[in-house]
């Protein structure tokens, strides 16, 4: 009997997961469908851009600076073994633009802005604000979800670009200012090796995909949260965990598609 119960429990879990993915996909579709209103009244998106994008600036800048400085140190130590210290700029820039910029910025975005979105919408549900909006004949997906979704999609590539720029500056501080790598070769080799379409555009595509996925997960978890303190706290945790795993898995898939054999 124990075996049957275990198999039954696993089956229920799988069915629940598939069902939730279906509901989330429907939620994403409805968000796109009801986006017209917020795109016409763009000030609604700008308001959300402030809380998702601008409020994430500090953490992105500080983290970017330190990641760039660590890359500068580690890169110098490795490149020195092969007498290629002058390629430090290339290594820092490619590492950040292709991988660390989009991925780290998305992970930080999920923990800072994603969790805040889930908690805010979950609490709006718990305090009947969403029901009140429905009773006022205002579609909550159009008025609450869609502006936040577009704010997330727009702010994520900008934050990733900022993360990479500050990271490169961090690498410059450590490599050139502190260690003494030649400044000319640091910048010129970087300029020659980093390709706009191959590296920067692919990095931007990655960050748009991550921004979409993280924002949809955060909004769905908030909208679907049981209207209790425990429910909102569980939803916030799920947002960070699910988003982080999704970012790392998608990063592998996108990297395999974009850079295979390049």
């Amino acid at each position: 009997m124990a075996v049957v119960k275990t198999i039954s429990a696993i089956g229920h879990r799988i069915v629940d997961t598939v069902w939730r993915i279906g509901v989330a996909a429907r939620f994403f579709f409805l968000t796109l469908l009801y986006s017209g209103n917020c795109l016409r009244r763009f000030h609604l998106v700008i308001k959300e851009l402030f809380s998702t994008g601008v409020m994430s600036l500090i953490i992105i800048i500080v983290a970017g600076l330190f990641v760039g400085m660590v890359l500068g140190l580690q890169g110098y130590e490795t490149l020195k073994r092969y007498g290629s210290e002058s390629a430090l700029g290339v290594m820092v820039a490619l590492g950040l633009v292709r991988e660390l910029g989009p991925v780290m910025a998305a992970l930080l975005f999920a923990s800072r802005a994603g969790s805040a979105m889930t908690a805010e919408i979950g609490l709006m549900k718990a305090t009947e604000q969403i029901s009140a909006m429905e009773m006022m004949a205002v579609n909550p997906i159009a008025r609450i979800v869609a502006p936040r979704f577009w704010a997330g999609v727009i702010s994520m590539p900008l934050l990733a670009a900022l993360f990479s720029a500050v990271g490169i500056f961090g690498g410059y501080l450590v490599g050139v200012v502190q260690i003494g790598v030649d400044e000319g070769s640091f910048w010129s080799q970087m300029q020659a090796a980093v390709d706009f379409r191959e590296d920067i555009m692919n990095g931007i595509i990655k960050s748009v995909v991550f921004g979409t996925v993280v924002t949809v997960i955060a909004l769905f978890e908030g909208f679907d949260a049981p209207p209790t303190a425990e429910g909102v706290s569980g939803a916030t945790t799920r947002t960070v965990v699910t988003s982080s795993l999704a970012i790392l898995m998608l990063d592998f898939v996108l990297t395999a598609i974009m850079f295979r054999g390049a």
């Binding site: 709006m124 604000q129 429905e134 006022m136 004949a137 205002v138």
Partner: protein, 267 residues
Amino acid sequence: MPAPALVEIRDLNFTYDKRPVLQGINMTFPKGKLVAIMGLSGCGKTTLLRHIGGALKPTRGYVKFDGQVMHELDAKGLYLMRRKMGMLFQFGALFTDMSVYDNVAFQMREHTDLSEEMIHNLVVMKLNAVGLRGAQHMMPSELSGGMARRVALARTMALDPMLVMYDEPFAGLDPISMTVIGDLIRSLNDALGATSIIVTHDIQESLKIVDYVYFMANGVIVAEGTPDELRACDTDFVRQFVHGEMDGPVPFHYPGVDYRQALNLRA
């Protein structure tokens, strides 16, 4: 000649998870009247309000509002009907990321093409009606419970709805705020020529202001009448409810195993 009905409920039944929540409910809410639905927590009052708002579909029967059967409407039709309604939620449900002013202006901005100047004048008038003109720049977190309820009342009245529903409007208020909210509900209903439905279990406060009362217990109507008729009513349930008696048709003890058995005592 009695006033025509704005809301009619006929043979309304609703079952949730095989448990009957509402059974054979028949109610009439005439235009311009203030009607209370009273009963214990969990007796189906809020479920009934959600049926009137079209948020739930009945298992049998119907709710008719302004001549339309609510559960037969599609999403667009439902939203059109909801523009004629207002609902005051139990704790106000103010939008916490907006100021008092923006909360009251919300529906005007969403549903009308009025200029900001016109909206400003209307918001100030609505806030003045609830005595909170001076609080328009405050955020919901800065308001007391009574003030939040008054702002929510101003927001509910923003587009002069035909029907206003109040879900426990007196819950958690001090006696002064309770009287203020009660008086505002009555005076705004009369001034706007609206129809109001109050779901409450605060019997003393609501009997002062309403025109008619339905008593509910376990999903059915157990008594109805004007406030004077109910004060004089001698059925066990109404007497227990009106006088707040501890034991009666509504038992003090939740059903469970025999007390002796629970204490492991021999009979």
